[in-house]
Point group: C2
Chain length 142, copies 2
DNA sequence: AAGTTACTAGTAATCATTACTATCTCTAGA
DNA sequence: TCTAGAGATAGTAATGATTACTAGTAACTT
């Protein structure tokens, strides 16, 4: 009896789920659920927002994608699953990867300091992307 | 002509603003706006949610408190303004400080890697607090 | 084929936050 | 001291993001 090796929480790889995952992978960026929805609708015009949210959640729990809880506004998703960090533009909201490395043993240090059973960490840089940095100062509010 | 040295964005220290700041300082924890609202209402029963949000925002812009954009759910606020990091319990949502130190020059490294003008960073550990860790595994979903 | 479970579209409800409006209160200048 | 205008407030409405619900569909198991 052969069994597909799908992660626990995921019993089936449905067409919707597959298209959602592909959309995320192809988007390159770090899209919000809303953006993924737009992309998926090009292939599956009748997909519902709920399906997109549910599957992004399921894929994240299965460890196939990453949920990013960065800054204000909507949650973002990332098709890359190996550890890396992000930087967010305070002006335009763009999110990019950074390849900065943190010292190993950081989680262990946090465990020792806090007594928590540490599962991981998330690091976000904030600043202004090159495009926006150029215009800062020129912008007058109001 | 004497002038009170209030931060730019903040023309006056109103009673509401003062009570909000005190509530945050006394709470010790890292309360959400909702929790601050509860605390403030003990002193000012007629305060409005909008006033709480507006002032937390104003105080944060003035650099007198910190906004924390951590994990899912509501935003949290922190009366401490010197740099430190946080750890969040995945089970109960509790947020605590950690005294873990990061290497200096991290922001500079991020700037070089990304080309962004880096303003700062936020680091969050996630895991299970001692109380919840004890019960993990005992909990059966459904 | 029948029963069971996972999943879906469509929609409603909820939660967190922001925006709006009329009113009030400081402050500065005439 | 009176007054105009900016800043702030309470109360409420609106928005945006996410989750929950419902009835129906598709796939797997025996």
């Amino acid at each position: 009896m052969e069994m597909k090796q799908l992660p626990e929480k995921m019993a089936r790889m449905t067409p919707q789920r597959r298209v959602i995952l592909e959309a995320l992978r192809k988007s390159g960026n770090h899209p919000s659920a809303d953006r993924v929805y737009e992309l998926v609708r090009e292939k599956l015009p009748h997909v519902s927002m709920g399906t997109v949210y549910r599957n992004l959640e399921t894929l994240a729990e299965a460890g196939m994608i990453q949920r990013l809880e960065l800054g204000p506004g909507p949650r973002h998703y990332d098709a890359g699953i190996k550890e890396h960090y992000h930087i967010r533009c305070l002006q335009c909201g763009k999110i990019e990867d950074t390849l900065v490395e943190l010292p190993s043993g950081l989680d262990r240090a946090a465990r020792i300091k806090t007594g928590f059973q540490v599962v991981g960490h998330e690091l976000e840089f904030v600043g202004y992307c090159p495009g926006c940095a150029k215009n800062i100062g020129k912008i007058k509010i109001k």
